[in-house]
Amino acid sequence: MNKFQRVRSIIWGILMITFSIGMIIFPNDGYIFMTMFISIFLLMLGVKKIGYYFSMARHMVGGKKILFEGVILLDFGIFTCALSDLPKIYVVLYLLGCNGFAGIANVLKGMEAKKLGAPSWKLSTSQGAVSLMLAVFSLIFVKKTNVFVYMYCLGVIYSGIIRIITAFRKTAIIYIQ
């Protein structure tokens, strides 16, 4: 990463953590913000996809598919933004998807590590178990918006911390002629 990318990563990380803590302290307002973020996220997905088509995929065999995907995603994003009250099903699916997939991947990675005799299997498996637990919680506590806010914020805080850690990681490789 260059200096600008590192600074940007740190600032984003701090913003994400700060916002999340604010949302945890005020969960009712937090829910409104959370639904807004999810809507904007879906909208930006569509915009990104269309941008991706014009910058990259138009050079590709079969690239037009990307344009169609982008337009559908954009329309979906705008439709979601226009909903005055984001249905809970969106939030549940979003949390279920993120945590469920990450949980399964981590557990499988832990099992693979254990087969190879690597000590990292304990960390991977426990990370996976926590993610799966959060995914299950999103189904159990479907009526409690506070729980959604806490789960969402946990994920955002974790991402924010990772961003900050990544910004400080040494990534350059020395070259000796």
Partner: protein, 165 residues
């Protein structure tokens, strides 16, 4: 000769892409309508009330009216979806050199005309001022893309028939 073969491969690939595109866009249109009916029920009821202004009916009548309109529109959309699916599937099969046809190309031309008209009136609507500018802009974007998909499908199908001979 090499260029002709390359052009043929390109046209076949485009035909498959456009075929998949028209199916996906039509399916999305129906899905969006269903989501709109579920999540924006209140807006639909207000629309019906606006249409019947001056007349007072019991609340369940408005809901019934909305359901009635939904069913009619959904039936019409499903019919269009079936035709679009057939056009798309025929295009995909021809693109993969599995089957040839001409009727789907004719149907595609008709859809080009329909969507061109839809886009024109959508833009006119925007110019004349619309309360839901974002929604309408997105709808026009989808219509333009669908028009592009049908037009692309038609052109690719003609190219494939010409180059394949």
């Amino acid at each position: 000769m090499k260029d002709r073969k390359r052009e043929l491969r390109k046209s076949r690939s485009n035909l498959v892409d456009m075929g998949e595109g028209v199916i996906a866009l039509s399916a999305w249109t129906i899905l969006k309508f269903i989501m709109f009916s579920i999540f924006k029920k209140a807006e639909l009821i207000n629309l019906v009330k606006d249409e019947l202004k001056g007349e007072e009916y019991p609340p369940f009548m408005y809901e019934l009216a909305v359901i009635f309109v939904d069913v009619i529109v959904l039936a019409l959309m499903t019919f269009i979806m079936v035709i679009t699916y057939w056009i798309g599937k025929s295009a995909i099969k021809e693109g993969k050199n599995l089957k040839k046809g001409i009727v789907y190309v004719v149907a595609s031309v008709i859809f080009v005309i329909i969507y061109a008209d839809s886009v024109y009136w959508g833009i006119m609507n925007l110019i004349n001022g619309t309360p839901s500018i974002f929604d309408d802009t997105a709808s026009i974007l989808v219509d333009i893309t669908t028009l592009f998909a049908f037009a692309g499908l038609t052109i690719s199908a003609i190219k494939v028939k010409y180059l394949g001979e």
